[in-house]
């Protein structure tokens, strides 16, 4: 493939958003390069098994269909799409290049146009025992099933909030795991209030209801208004304490119940993965649901940078929305490159925008239902580690705030929270919530990612 530097489109992330953008660009005669850290396209959600297998009895038909659709979308345009898998973007290098790392070393990827589709990562909620082997995040549990084809545990419980809970519970059960309980933090009454919003996506709602009846049929307890208190075990998780949550998600500890398990999935939400966008200098604003997200126009193009940001990396709306956003960005770019006329742009975009609007109404219903409450911050005891890399305890945050720390950078400098190898991916959303809860809401800043986004072996510098 010959790609001219002056029109080189580079897409970071080969999930639903990135692949949809590449396919849409190809339809309008624009070639692109997709860079993805995984061995296969599809993103975390549609990547599928990493080894060849015919039978996937634990995966539902919707998921299998979506995986196939993504592969088909790519295959139809594969002549116009170059895919660099198992390749990580370390950051910007100069003004129009990305620095990449793969098995063969470092390389530079020039770009004329950039579409970031970097997805999201899970929101970590520290509680006593959360570092025990066997305590996993819900997406990680699901990845073990979907891509690793391994059972994460024998006897499991799920705690958290949102539609992923029943889905993963069903998948675990189909995979042969003994699911002893699912604990949804929000009360059922709150979900019932969102009935109108959920009707925007009737199929999805029906599928959710069928999951609930699957759980009922297999006598898997699903408790609304309950959640995690703590986890116990020596070398390995042995049991958890769960308790009813009040409306602020504060556990009623006197009503706590012990559940014996060897693994749990914890899912209190996700955070947009914005490190690359931040390193590139895109402006970001804070949102409660997704953390910091880039400031974008209606075509998902940055307001202070030429880059587009699509999919969960600009706010969590899920895979269907990500596909729409990828298409919208691609259409806008095709128009900017003179490949389609303005009327072609609007006629095709209108349909996609309408679909996106319906998804948003549905999704916002769930966002309101799963709206994170301050009680979650009270789970960590003073001595609980809240930043794993630097082993920062909650009481150190308390001390720093009492001493007048008012922003996240000062908190980081004082306690080292967020200064570890993960660059704050694990702890910064907790730290932000913690500052907000302490009444510090204005100008508290952000844990700025640093170059390189992943460690580089010194030997690659020889």
């Amino acid at each position: 493939m010959t790609s001219q530097i002056h029109d080189q489109v580079v897409i970071v992330g080969g999930g639903p958003a990135g692949t949809a953008a590449a396919a849409e660009l190809a339809r309008h005669g624009l070639k692109s390069v997709i860079i993805d850290e995984a061995p296969k396209l599809g993103g975390v959600i549609y990547r599928g098994p990493l080894r060849q297998t015919d039978s996937l009895p634990h995966l539902d038909d919707n998921l299998k269909r979506a995986m196939t659709a993504l592969q088909t979308r790519y295959q139809a345009h594969s002549d116009s799409i170059e895919v660099k898998t198992q390749t990580r973007v370390l950051g910007p290098e100069g003004s129009n290049q990305l620095l990449l790392s793969d098995n063969s070393g470092l390389s530079r990827q020039p770009y004329a146009h950039l579409i970031l589709a970097t997805g999201c990562h899970e929101r970590s909620v520290p509680f006593p025992g959360w570092q025990l082997p066997g305590v996993m995040l819900l997406g990680g549990v699901q990845l073990q099933l979907k891509s690793g084809l391994v059972r994460p545990g024998q006897r499991m419980a799920l705690v958290g909030t949102g539609p992923l809970l029943p889905l993963v519970a069903c998948q675990l059960h189909k995979a042969g795991v003994d699911v002893v309980g699912v604990f949804e933090a929000s009360p059922f009454a709150k979900l019932a209030k969102e009935a109108v919003a959920l009707l925007n996506k009737p199929k999805l709602t029906l599928s959710g209801m069928s999951m609930m009846s699957y759980l009922k049929k297999h006598k898997i307890p699903f408790k609304y208004g309950w959640g995690i208190v703590s986890a116990q075990g020596d070398e390995q998780l042995k049991s958890i304490q769960v308790a009813p949550y009040d409306s602020q998600w504060r556990p009623q500890r006197d009503l706590a119940v012990k559940v014996e398990v060897d693994a749990i999935g914890v899912g209190y939400g996700f955070v947009a993965r914005t490190q690359l966008a931040m390193l590139l200098g895109l402006e970001h604003n804070y949102t409660k649901v997704s953390g910091y997200v880039p400031a974008l126009d209606e075509w998902h193009q940055s307001q202070n940078h030429a880059a587009f940001v699509v999919g969960d990396s600009n706010g969590l709306l899920g895979a269907d929305a990500a596909i729409c956003e990828g298409q919208l960005a691609a259409l806008r770019l095709a128009w900017q490159c003179g490949k389609i006329t303005e009327s072609q742009l609007f006629s095709r975009a209108t349909k996609v925008k309408n679909k996106l609007a319906r998804i948003k109404k549905f999704r916002f219903g769930f966002d309101r239902f799963s709206d994170r409450q301050p009680g979650l911050l009270t789970l960590a005891a003073p001595e609980t580690v809240v930043c794993r890399c630097e082993q920062v305890r909650r009481e150190q945050l308390d001390e720093a705030i009492a001493q007048g720390v008012k922003d996240i950078t000062s908190l980081k400098m004082r306690t080292r929270i967020g200064m570890g190898d993960c660059q704050g991916k694990t702890c910064s959303s907790y730290a932000l919530d913690y500052l907000h809860e302490a009444g510090l809401t204005e100008n508290i800043g952000v844990i700025k990612p640093r170059f390189p986004l992943d460690p580089i072996p010194f030997t690659l510098m020889e």
Binding site: G94, L106, R108, R416, D421, N443, I456
Partner: protein, 408 residues
């Protein structure tokens, strides 16, 4: 509207030190206003207290040596330019060494009175020699500082190996400046700020000074986005941004400008260094948490704080040459800071002729961490009307006016 005796614009090492010393030694009502801008030097710093090292152009200053060394090798036996160490004037030595001597007691004081630990470590700074050219250079350095002979140790290859077993076998020896040490730079800034806060200083963090209030030749205060601060004295400690504030305060300009330095940081490693190191390529310091910090480039690129692969490669190669064990580790982070540079590499301190209510505490270039303590003390002396313990004439902004006049 707020009224203070002293307002300090800038909360990096220098501004924070001013707040600490003023609040420790006086009863004045003090406010410190700070907004962290990308590239602020205190947070980008390595934290070396390399009083001699920096004064003779090592540490952060090796870039000058590299330039000279390159000229030297390119000459290839032809007319060889005399390679002289880049040595700063005596007034700077005195300034740096006086400040350096303050840290052991300051460290104790911060721990005992304020409960904060800025991780002062007695490390020395070794200049590692790889060849005869390096030895010649080291000899020139020591010849230039005969009065500091008792602070310099010569190590042969064997002695070096014993003290720094991970340094390459190719090293032929080292000179060690025994009074040069290190701190954790952000802990130091934090300690000053926390001490100042406990002493009653009002800290306005995350707050930007947007303009200076001036009435004729009198500076009366500053404005932020939503507040007005009146004061008797404004201290300009705004690092690489100091000229902007100076212009507003005086209507003149001074030559303080950003000099970019890129830094490479390793993953945490077990303790492999007993002291700080400078080579002809870079400086290397293992910090209190095990990370190894390698610095730093010297680039004049305005307020740009991006990292570039070429500089990161140069620094990494220089560090691996000295400490081959680094090849087993990874680069965890890189960043760039903006040193507040001046043409003669000396800071700009004290009052400005014809302007009342204003003091400069800026232009600290490579040594703001090291010289923050003495700067805080000097500013306190100036504000309380005492005779400064060091002669400030060489550091006055007036030296640039004179230079201009001479040139004119």
């Amino acid at each position: 509207m707020k009224k203070y005796d002293v307002v300090i614009a800038g909360g990096g090492a220098v501004g924070a030190a001013c707040a600490y010393f003023l609040s420790r030694d006086t009863d004045l009502k003090i406010a410190l206003i700070d907004l962290k801008k990308p590239g602020n030097a205190s947070r980008a710093s390595a934290g070396g207290l390399w009083a001699i090292g920096e004064s003779v152009g090592l540490g952060c200053g090796v870039i000058f040596f590299k330039t000279l060394s390159k000229l030297h090798s390119e000459a290839q036996g032809k007319e060889v330019p005399v390679m002289r160490p880049h040595q700063l004037p005596d007034c700077f030595f005195e300034f740096a060494l006086t400040s350096n001597n303050m840290y052991p007691a300051l460290h104790q004081e911060m721990l005992e009175k304020h409960g904060v630990d800025f991780k002062f470590e007695r490390t020395g700074l070794k200049f590692i020699m790889y060849n005869e050219e390096d030895r010649l250079y080291a000899e020139q350095i020591t010849e230039g500082i005969p009065h500091l002979a008792d602070q310099v140790r010569w190590l042969d290859a064997e002695e070096l190996k014993k003290e720094e077993p991970y340094v390459t076998d190719d090293a032929i020896g080292a000179i060690d400046f025994i009074c040069d040490h290190q701190v954790n730079p952000y802990r130091l800034v934090d300690a000053y700020l926390e001490g100042a806060r406990q002493n009653g200083v009002s800290l306005y963090l995350n707050t930007e000074v947007t303009s200076v209030i001036r009435n004729g030749n009198v500076v009366e205060g500053v404005k932020t986005h939503d507040q007005v601060f009146f004061c008797d004295t404004l201290i300009n400690a705004s690092g690489a941004w100091a000229n902007e504030l100076y212009q507003q305060a005086t209507g003149r300009t001074m030559p303080v400008y950003p000099v970019k330095g890129q830094i490479v940081l390793s993953e945490r490693m077990p303790k492999i260094m007993n002291g700080c190191i400078s080579t002809s390529d870079c400086y290397i310091a293992q910090k209190d948490n095990g990370e190894i910090l390698i610095g730093s480039s010297t680039e004049e690129k305005g307020f740009d704080t991006t990292n570039s692969l070429d500089k990161i490669q140069e620094l990494s190669q220089g560090a691996m040459k000295c400490l081959p064990i680094l090849k087993e580790s990874s680069i965890k982070r890189c960043w760039a800071g903006l040193r507040p540079g001046t043409p003669d590499e000396l800071p700009i301190l004290g009052p400005v002729e014809g302007i009342e209510g204003y003091l400069n505490a800026c232009g600290h270039f490579r040594t703001g961490i090291l010289t923050s303590a003495i700067t805080g003390q000097l500013m306190t002396e100036l504000i309380t009307g005492k005779t400064p313990s060091l002669d400030l004439t060489p550091f006055s902004v007036a030296r640039f006016d004179e230079a201009e006049q001479k040139a004119g």
